[in-house]
Every structure is written in C-alpha cells, then in structure tokens.
C-alpha cells in the first residue's frame, strides 16, 4: 500500500513537475531559431491547403446592407502624422497620386479622380482581425486587376507591394513604416479592390483615406490603409525586414488566410 502511495505521489509529482518544465521550456523553445522554423513550416502547408480548397476565384461571402456592423473599429494607425500626409489630407487628397511602378511595363500615376472614373466594384464583406474580432462594412473601389492590366506586368513580377503613408512604430531607420504584400493570385482575385469608399462615403482618415486595400480572403492586417505607392517585385526579401509586411516583420504570417 505504502509502495503504491509513493508511486502515485511520484507520478503526480512527476506530471506536475513535467508540465512546469514544459511551460518554462516553451519560452526557451519559442526563442530557438530551429524550433521557430519547424513551427513556421505550418504556414506553407496552410497556404497550399487553402489555395487547393479555394481555387483562384472562390469568393468571400458578401453580405446585405442590413448586416453592416453598427460600428467599425479603427485599428492600427488612426491618423498618419507625417507632414506630407497631413498636407494631402488638408487638400482633400486632390494632390495625392497613386504611383504604380516596379516590374510593370508602363509605370503610371493615378489621381483619386482618375480612379473614380474607372469601373468600380462594391462589396459588403466581413473584416476579420488577427486578434479575433470581426466587423462588416461596405467597400467601393477599383479592382486591383484592372489597374494592373493598364500598367501591364513584366514576367518576373510575383508580388504586389503596397507602400503606405503611416508609420505604426517610430524608428530612426523608418522601418516602422506600414507596408504589405500579396501575390498575384490574390492581386487578380475579383474581390481584391483598392477602396476609396466605406459604407457609401469617402474613406475616413481612420479607415485609410484616400485608398486602402481589400483582400477579402485574408485577415485585417493585410488590408493596408493610406496607400501611396504600389510596387511590383519579384521578391520582397529586400524590403525592410524582408518578410513582406509590417506585421510580417514582427513575427506574423505572410499568408494571413487563417
């Protein structure tokens, strides 16, 4: 009996001890580069599996007017504070130009008025934040695909990089500047638009005026606000942290479909 008792105590003690070790060990493992690489391998699997399930053109659900959230949380930057942006905003973005360059055949600049003359798409979709919350809004804008058809792509172009006006983290080297990137599958998806209207009104500064990306099959941090320039690249490894986006450089997945 006493032998059983000590054995039981040993087992329970051992289990508790092991879990405590596991827990503090997790922090150590979390900082180990090899472990990080193994954990990251799941991202590739997720991208492949989702693309297989989706095909190129599966659409994100579109809702009706009555489904729109009563309030839509402003997240990330609420107002870029650079002199350049403030000046643009004061002029109602009439001086703002969207540059499209990089690996394109015909680099172009578009004013907000130019964009508004192009055929527009309106979609009521759910915005999913990586933190877990969701909000439904109505977005109107130009399909990114139609702009890329105007500029043409060089064969080496693989990613669309969106350079933004907001600096989410203040750093000396400017690496706190917001940027994002998507691949051509998402760039040419019918619901991928550059939105200049939200819920029937011009985009507010909080939600990314004058132009923001909607890439509806991915999470909120991919929906770059305050877009100034679109650059086509063959690889994003040379940009800032090399991971393809502001949050990607801070540990988040480049593919944000989950």
């Amino acid at each position: 009996m006493s032998r059983l008792f000590t054995r039981r105590r040993f087992l329970i003690g051992g289990t508790l001890g092991a879990s405590a070790l596991t827990l503090s060990g997790c922090d150590l493992l979390d900082q180990n580069a090899n472990v990080a690489n193994v954990l990251r391998s799941a991202e590739h699997l997720t991208l492949k599996a989702q693309r297989l399930l989706q095909g190129r053109d599966a659409l994100a659900r579109e809702f009706e007017e009555k489904d729109i959230s009563p309030s839509f949380r402003v997240n990330g930057t609420s107002a870029p504070d650079s002199d350049e942006y403030i000046e643009l905003a004061e002029g109602n973005f009439s001086a703002w130009r969207l540059k499209i360059d990089g690996l394109v055949e015909r680099p172009r600049e578009f004013s907000l008025a130019d964009l508004k003359t192009l055929p527009a798409r309106t979609q009521i979709t759910r915005h999913d934040c990586v933190e877990g919350w969701s909000a439904i809004g109505k977005w109107t804008g130009v399909p990114l695909a139609s702009l890329l058809q105007l500029t043409g792509l060089k064969p080496t172009a693989h990613y669309v990089v969106l350079h933004c006006a907001d600096e989410l983290e203040k750093t000396l080297d400017g690496s706190g500047r917001y940027y994002e990137s998507i691949d051509l599958v998402d760039a040419f998806h019918p619901q991928t638009i550059l939105a200049y209207q939200m819920n029937g009104q011009d985009l507010s500064v909080g939600h990314g005026a004058p132009l923001r990306l909607r890439v509806e099959r991915q999470l909120g941090y991919k929906q770059a606000k305050y877009i100034m320039r679109i650059e086509l690249v063959d690889s994003f490894s040379g940009l800032w942290g090399g991971n393809g986006g502001y949050w990607e450089d801070r540990g988040y997945e480049w593919y944000a479909g989950i």
Binding site: D30, S69, I258
Partner: protein, 284 residues
C-alpha cells in the same frame, strides 16, 4: 482423500494480463495529449489578444458580448473580472488581472496558462497552427485505423442493453460510489466510458477543428456552408471556446478516473498495452 480432488472445486484469485490497447491507439493517444496541451495553452494566448466572445457574424469592442474577461483600474489597484451576459464575477489574481514579474497586470489568462508565457499573439498563432496540423493528422490516423480495425465497433460502440436507463443508472451510481468493474467486466469499457469517449472523438474534437476552420477567412471563402452551420465567425469562435472548456473538464474527470480506478494499471495499459485483471479460477 486426495488433496487434488478438493482443490479442483476451489477458485483461487489470480492476476491475468490482457492486451487492452493497440499500438496505434496508444501512440495516437499520447500524441493527442501532447497536441491538445499545446493547442490549449497557445489558444489561451490567442484569446488574450481579444478576451471577449460574441454571437453572430460580427463582434468587436462595444458590440454585445457573450463573455468578457477584463479588468478595471479605478482607485489604483487593478481588479480582474469575468462577465457572462450580465453576471460579473471578480477574478483578480487569476483572470483579468494576474501577476507578471510580481506586478498585478491586466491580462485575461495568467502567464502560467499561456504559450509563450508573455503576451505574443504572433508566437501563439505559430504554436497553435503547427499543433493544429499535427493534431488533425494524428486524428485522421486514429479514425482511419479505428474504423478499419474494428476498434470502434468492438470496443467503443455501446451494446443495446447497455443503453437502457436502468443499466446506465446503475453505472452512474457505481461511478459515484467509486466502485469500478472488476474481473470479467473489466475486460471491456463500461457504457459510460464508451459514451464519453465517443462524444469526445466524434463530437467535441471534430467540433474544435470545424469551429477553428470557420474562423479562417480563407476557409470561409472555400467552404461557405461552415459559416452557416455555426451562425457566423464570431459564433464559431464562441463555440470553439466552449468546446475547449468542455474538453478541459473531460480531461480533469478522465485523469481523476484513471487515478481512482487503478493508476498504474491504467497508465501501463496505455503505454505498454498490458492491463491486469483480477479474477478467480482454478489454480493453473
């Protein structure tokens, strides 16, 4: 009068060993323990990024919440609470506010319950999705094996007579009195075990996977009916949390039963497969 003649009628207690769990069951069981531990702890890390649950398609700060784990900071000392609908329960020290490096800090689940221990959503997600893939692969291996080998039919499907209210009632009473089956009856799972394991295997664990997938905007585009089944992404998130809580309760009861009904015998049977049964029979 020979000794042998009288001994033939006497039954002697003896211990026999049976093979209780197949190697696949044992392997997948422990891999499952490993995966679910990391999924739970990294899941709580992810929950901490937005410690509020909603119902329906949307939900964010200010929308009506089903559950909130939060903190108040009026008067200098922060206090933690859990709010379910309109009921608010103080939980300072564990939920809402807990110590980080000796300082009371606002965080939904305490650092000892999250992976990593410090606030890091990106890392929590990496752990979570890695182990989610491992968990699903392991689950498919187990389900495939159990269907093909007859494990489900033979060991887990309750017999018709076991489902009578009278039989179930007696098993509940026996469990409550901590009287566990011995001898011949210990060769098989009892009806409560069968029903509980089946509920976990075919209901709770698949529900975890499906509600988890429903939170993914990519999966929702591919399989829109998932969103309809759960009534929205935020409902799916709430069901994910409730189902995880149900699994935690299952594990607590399961481990308690393992300990109470013969700790070492149970654990050995899940490691080596050998399970000891006390029975009476002629001396062999």
């Amino acid at each position: 009068m020979s000794a042998n003649a009288s001994n033939d009628n006497v039954e002697y207690p003896r211990t026999i060993f049976i093979r209780r769990h197949s190697v696949v069951t044992r392997l997948t069981h422990w891999l499952n323990v490993f995966c679910l531990s990391f999924l739970l702890l990294s899941g709580l890390q992810i929950f901490n990024a937005h410690p509020e649950l909603y119902w329906g398609h949307y939900g964010a700060n200010g929308d009506p919440a089903v559950l909130t784990i939060g903190s108040d900071d009026d008067g200098g000392t922060p206090s933690g609470f859990v709010r379910v609908a309109r009921l608010q329960i103080p939980t300072t020290g564990v939920l809402g506010v807990s110590n980080v490096d000796g300082e009371p800090t606002a965080r939904a689940f305490p650092s000892w319950a999250t992976v990593p221990s410090f606030q890091d959503l990106a890392a929590g997600r990496r752990w979570h999705f890695f182990f989610a893939w491992l968990f699903v692969s392991n689950g498919i291996l187990y389900l495939g094996f159990s269907l093909l080998s007859g494990h489900f039919r033979r060991d887990l499907a309750p017999k018709v007579h076991e489902l009578s209210p009278r039989h179930l009632g007696r098993e509940v009473l026996d469990h409550a009195r901590l009287r566990f089956p011995g001898g011949e009856k210990a060769r098989h799972y009892n009806a409560l075990q069968k029903l509980t394991y089946l509920a976990v295997i075919v209901l709770l664990l698949p529900l975890m996977v499906l509600t988890g997938l429903t939170m993914s905007p990519g999966v929702d585009a591919a399989l829109p009916s998932l969103v309809d089944i759960f009534g929205g992404r935020q409902s799916a998130r709430t069901i994910h949390f409730i189902t995880a809580s149900a699994l935690v309760i299952f594990v607590i009861v399961h481990v308690a039963m393992v300990i109470l009904s013969g700790t070492w015998n149970n654990i050995r049977s899940m490691i080596t497969g050998r399970y000891a049964i006390q029975e009476k029979g002629p001396r062999s």
